[in-house]
Every structure is written in structure tokens, then in C-alpha cells.
């Protein structure tokens, strides 16, 4: 799709979400700099808005929204200490954490939650890999924190956290943000230990949300912790 005319030919379909992913990306890129095309798309959207059938809405649906509007009050004003670290972290990995100011509070091994020694060994290797990025996902008030390490190829490990264990029927879920679009990077369980995950190129952030057990296809509530990522 090269010429402006070729782009214009797609504006109608684009307004109807009827273009494929490559075309959509190219169009969105074009629209950031073209007022005329942006105006045309807006006009098409106004037109199709009239095609939406109007239906009755059950009052219970508003209640769900209303509930989600209130943020949970943070229970403590100060940052809570991380409560668990797998003790099988190698000395070098512990040194890497300490260098970054992470407090290693508890050296008891949680191999069962870590998914076995293989994962712990891989996480160790990642932590001591100079190419790796280490980042902290935080809640809005920084009382909750999730420590994560990511390698340049997108493999990563959740290494430690101070998330509350969840009740039955819920799970933490990790999301890779592609701009605003969250892509599931897997569920973390009710009480995460060391968890491997993988994210793709173009990932701009990571977020953790609480979902029903089994996970969700999209986050159903605000993330409990999030952070930005720059994959080299």
C-alpha cells in the first residue's frame, strides 16, 4: 500500500474494522500524520454509529461497571517487603539482586511452586545474564511489586513478588502490552513462585491482573502491578 490514493481506498473498510492486521497497522501509522484521512475516518464512524441497534440493558450490567470503578484501597501506605524468594537462586543471582537494591528476605526454597529445578536454574541464568533486563512491576502506589527478568529473545521469569495469595477460583495473570493491546503471557496461579513466560517483540509493558481461575482472554480489571519494558 503505497500511494495516498491506495490508502484512501481503504478508509471505508478501515472505519468498519474490515481490514487485515497489516493494513490496519499501516493505516494507523498514516493517520497519525494525515488530518484529511483522519477526518474521513471519523465521518465514516459517525455514519455507521447510526446502524447500531438500540436494545434494553439489564440494570445488573451497570452494577458490574460501578464496582470496577472503585479502586481497591491500598492497605498499607508503605512498601511491603517481598515475602518470598526461591532459595535455590545461585549466589551470583542473589548478588545480582542485591546490587539492584532488591531485598532478599526469605531464603526458603519454593521449588514446588517454581515448577521444578529446571525453571529455577534457568531463572538463575537469566538473572546473571548481562543481556537481561530486570524490571519491577508496581501497583499504582508502589506497595505491591513483582520482580521480573527478561532476556533479549523474550523469555522471562517472574522471580519474586509480594502479591497477596488469592482465594480459590482466582488466579494472577500476566499480560504483555503491545502498545495498548494486552496479550496474555500466561496465568501465574494463586500464589506465584518463579514462573517462566515469553513475550514477543513489540512488547512495551507487562502487567499483572487478577482473573478467574483458568485465566481470561482479556484483562477484566485494572492491573495490580505493571511496568514498561524496552526489549533491546
Amino acid at each position: 500500500m503505497n500511494t495516498h490514493e491506495e490508502i484512501r481506498e481503504l478508509l471505508g473498510a478501515y472505519a468498519l474494522d474490515a481490514v487485515d492486521a497489516d493494513e490496519r497497522r499501516a493505516l494507523e501509522h498514516h493517520l497519525t500524520t494525515c488530518d484529511a484521512c483522519t477526518r474521513e475516518v471519523s465521518e465514516h464512524c459517525e455514519v455507521v454509529a447510526g446502524l447500531a441497534p438500540d436494545v434494553d440493558v439489564a440494570p445488573s450490567l451497570w452494577e458490574g461497571i460501578e464496582r470496577s470503578m472503585s479502586p481497591r484501597p491500598e492497605e498499607e501506605a508503605s512498601r511491603r517487603p517481598r515475602r518470598r524468594v526461591a532459595a535455590a537462586l545461585s549466589a551470583a543471582a542473589v548478588a545480582a539482586l542485591a546490587f539492584l537494591g532488591w531485598k532478599v528476605m526469605d531464603l526458603d526454597a519454593r521449588l514446588d511452586r517454581a515448577g521444578g529445578e529446571g525453571v529455577v536454574a534457568a531463572a538463575n541464568a537469566a538473572l546473571t545474564n548481562p543481556e537481561a533486563d530486570r524490571l519491577v512491576l508496581r501497583s499504582p502506589k508502589s506497595t505491591l511489586a513483582v520482580d521480573v527478568v527478561i532476556l533479549p529473545d523474550g523469555t522471562g521469569y517472574l522471580v519474586q513478588d509480594n502479591l497477596d495469595p488469592l482465594p480459590e477460583g482466582r488466579t494472577y495473570q500476566l499480560w504483555a502490552m503491545l502498545g495498548e493491546q494486552p496479550i496474555s503471557a500466561g496465568t501465574l496461579g494463586r500464589d506465584p513462585g518463579i514462573i517462566p513466560f515469553r513475550v514477543g517483540s513489540g512488547t512495551t509493558g507487562l502487567a499483572v491482573s487478577v482473573e478467574r481461575a483458568g485465566g481470561a482472554t482479556a484483562p477484566t480489571s485494572d492491573p495490580v502491578a505493571f511496568g514498561t519494558v524496552t526489549l533491546r
Binding site: 471505508g12 474494522d17 455514519v47 455507521v48 441497534p53 451497570w62 461497571i65 470496577s68 470503578m69 501506605a77
Partner: protein, 223 residues
């Protein structure tokens, strides 16, 4: 928003935050050190601000939830999923109100654009999943309706849009309705209808522009 929201913090306290207790209608904590006067006033003020925002969202919901839900249902044909889309759209507005640009169009169109994009996204994710399963399945019997069975139903819309639609050719109307309501890309619509892709692209765009013209004319006629 009601007049008593702009209270001076004396008589109409909705909530008085207590230290260590549940706070306000909207959280978050107002901080542990609250003096008797200013603290109560500030807290009420912030609570009022929050209440006003909530009232505003409730009003937007009253005006547009029906259309958002109606569109999601029509596209998804799965009421529970449509309800999720409804919630997502209004929560998105709640969290990112600054993303709506009134200079660019109406709030209704903005919300419906969100709803439509999300619904189509869900459809395509589901189709991709089923296609993968089908490829992996031993039995080759397809489980879902083939694309060309998504025939265009008679669309009943009222008012000026109906009038505007009547100005379109049958081809234009069909292309727009298929593209908009089935979640297909224009290429898939072209395959469904056995037409060249360029033709479908063009019918969609021309049809939409014709409708815009018709709507503009009918509005001028009214004024």
C-alpha cells in the same frame, strides 16, 4: 450533575473518612493524618469530584449503553460476550476519558467504535482458534458455519439512517452490512460475494460517503 455536589463540606457530608477504616465511596486512602476541619473538607471535596465523575459516566451509560450492547450482540451473536464488551467499553471511558476527542466526533460514535473494534477482535480470535483446532483435528468435519452462510439479514434501523441507506445501491448496502456486522475483512467479504477485492473496497467507501451526504442533506432540510 446535581447542585449539592458543590458543597462546602459542612452539612451534606456523604462520607467522613475514618483513620484506618474504609474510605470514601471511591477510595483510595486520604492519608492517615487528617485534621478536623480541612481534612473533612478536602475529603468531601475529593469525594464530590469522584461522585461527579461517576454521575457523568452513569449519564453516558444511560444515553449509549443500549447502542453499545445492541451492536456487540449483533456482531458477536453471544449475549454474555456482548455484555463483557459493554463493560469494557464503559470502563475504558472511565479510565481514559481524555482519549475521547469531542472535536473529532460524537461520544456515541466513539463508544461504538470501541465496541465494534473489540467485538471484531473477539470474533477473529475465536475464528483463528477454531481454524487451528480444525487443522489439528483428525476428523475434517467443519464445526462452524462457513463464511458464506453469514448472509445479510434485513437490517431494521430507524430514522434518518434508514433513509440514508435507501440512497445506496443494493451492492453498496450489502458490502457495508457484511463488512460491518460479520467481522469479516473486505477481502473475506469479496470472497463471500465472489467479487474482486477492489470492488468491495470501493463499494464500502462510496456507500459510506453517499450516506454521509444523505444524512447531511436531511439535517439541512430539518433546520
Amino acid at each position: 450533575m446535581t447542585g449539592d455536589q458543590a458543597s462546602t463540606g459542612s452539612a451534606h457530608l456523604r462520607v467522613v473518612p475514618r483513620r484506618g477504616g474504609p474510605v470514601g465511596p471511591t477510595g483510595p486512602g486520604y492519608g492517615p493524618r487528617v485534621t478536623a476541619d480541612h481534612g473533612a473538607t478536602d475529603a468531601t471535596l475529593v469525594a464530590s469530584l469522584a461522585r461527579t465523575r461517576q454521575d457523568a459516566l452513569a449519564e453516558a451509560y444511560r444515553r449509549h449503553a443500549g447502542a453499545v450492547l445492541g451492536l456487540a450482540r449483533r456482531v458477536l451473536r453471544a449475549p454474555p460476550l456482548a455484555e463483557e464488551v459493554l463493560q469494557e467499553v464503559f470502563l475504558h471511558l472511565w479510565r481514559y476519558p481524555e482519549r475521547f476527542d469531542p472535536g473529532r466526533g460524537t461520544l456515541r460514535a466513539y463508544l461504538l467504535t470501541l465496541a465494534h473494534a473489540r467485538s471484531v477482535d473477539l470474533i477473529r480470535t475465536e475464528r483463528a482458534r477454531r481454524a487451528r483446532e480444525e487443522r489439528d483435528a483428525v476428523r475434517r468435519t467443519p464445526q462452524e458455519e462457513p463464511l458464506d452462510e453469514r448472509v445479510v439479514e434485513e437490517l431494521s434501523v430507524g430514522g434518518e439512517v434508514e433513509v440514508a441507506m435507501k440512497t445506496l445501491s443494493e451492492d453498496e448496502r450489502q458490502a457495508i452490512e457484511l463488512a460491518y456486522f460479520s467481522g469479516q475483512t473486505y477481502r473475506e467479504v469479496a470472497r463471500t460475494l465472489g467479487e474482486p477485492e477492489g470492488t468491495i473496497k470501493s463499494r464500502i467507501r462510496t456507500g459510506l460517503r453517499r450516506m454521509r451526504g444523505a444524512l447531511a442533506e436531511s439535517r439541512i432540510g430539518e433546520s
